[in-house]
Symmetry: C2
Subunit: 246 residues, 2 copies
């Protein structure tokens, strides 16, 4: 992991861009974190729209988390931002957009082609980032995962034992095989659902919530569309992490 | 309203039993409340099991609310505790228990006969209690309603303009006509749903949540049975009231 830039966002948070091999990433650390009092880490997931475009929203989440004493970090997803596009996934995305425009259901084949390669590629990258981040002084477990592509969160929750709690953001482009993986999730979950999310099938989200194997799981459903998560719902998610990571 | 007993629960909360005509009730006030700094009021709903039996759980809720600066009050429901039974309702309850024992669905007729008279009778009583409570020094609006028989909460939210926010506890014995009333609710709602509530049809609860007309409504669903609401879910409901009543 190589740091490429750093800036203070305010008196209390340091933002550092880094590269992990070819993968760009960002780390935010609260001033309170030190080698003798390391901060627990939250991995910030995001949709595959590129880190640069997601930056303002990620900074908002990082500042909130830092106020609770958490370090946060994120990396660019495969095929997003400046990372090379994958033709098969781009084809699936075009197929999806064509189906949506025609008001047709997005087929399971399209969803699988769009999401499964992303999950397969991204998850080991997030694990590698975790290796590098946890080796730093000032950062330590327990680790949370928050938001972004739901299937990445599910897979990480299943395969990565260092992640001990996750906030997931319900989205409907979930391959059917992820339901099986969901049953194997056992860590505490806090699932945000936007009840009137135009791009999200509500029943799929409810079925997926039902499928999770976790003994502690909360569904927090609120009004409004995909990007309209109310501030109080974000705060409830913050408190979920405080409860489980501190 | 006549006070019949009073005791300090701890240094900070005064519990007073009262009667309002023939109806017994309990009022809890935080020590911080005074005529010049009145406490906002939360009406504590409860299932029709009698105030005496519900007392320990009600006290727990009252202490939490008092810690946030709220006064709380409750009254005995018609046909519960020492109040006279109503033969038609008792018949409906026996019919319901027979159906449940036989693993048959509880018919709409039984639900109507059990719940609608209770709502029709109870709601004006809660409104009368509100008149008396808000006339006291040290208590003032805004007023919240919390928990108990869901249909009573819905009706109160529709007909009582002094109630400005409600925490509702999803239960499935909801007459079909209440769905129409639910559409007319416009105050902020925080709906608790126990995902595996053995006595509650989950789909009915989700349909009812969908029906509420409120612009701000949150569904907070958690694992466990009817009485297993986790502490953190209770705290989230507390914060909902702090957000809307203070």
């Amino acid at each position: 992991m190589h740091f490429t830039s750093e800036q203070r966002l305010d008196d209390n948070v340091l933002e550092r861009e880094f590269t992990l091999g070819e993968i760009p990433g960002i780390l935010w650390t609260p001033a309170s974190a030190s080698a003798s009092a390391p901060a627990p880490l939250i991995l910030l997931g995001h949709p595959p729209l590129g880190l640069r475009r997601m930056h303002p929203r990620l900074v908002g989440r990082a500042l909130h988390a830092a106020a609770d004493g958490f370090a946060t970090a994120t990396i660019e997803l495969p095929g997003s931002g400046d990372r090379p596009r994958r033709p098969a996934v781009e084809q699936a995305r075009a197929d999806m957009q064509r189906a949506m425009k025609a008001d047709e259901p997005v087929s399971d084949e399209i969803i699988d082609a769009l999401v499964l390669p992303l999950v397969d590629e991204a998850v080991p990258e997030w694990q590698a980032a975790l290796d590098a981040l946890l080796a730093m002084p000032g950062i330590d477990g327990p680790v949370g995962y928050s938001g972004g592509v739901m299937s990445i969160g599910i897979r990480l929750a299943v395969v990565e034992p260092r992640i001990s709690a996750a906030v997931l953001f319900a989205g409907s482009l979930v391959p059917r095989t992820m339901f099986e993986e969901a049953r194997r999730v056992t860590i505490p979950l806090h699932v945000l659902l936007q009840w009137d999310d135009e791009g999200n099938d509500r029943q799929t989200a409810l079925d997926l919530f039902d499928a999770f194997g976790s003994e502690e799981k909360t569904l927090n459903a609120n009004m409004g569309g995909h990007t309209g998560v109310p501030q109080f719902a974000g705060e409830a998610a913050d408190r979920f992490f405080v409860r489980h990571l501190k």
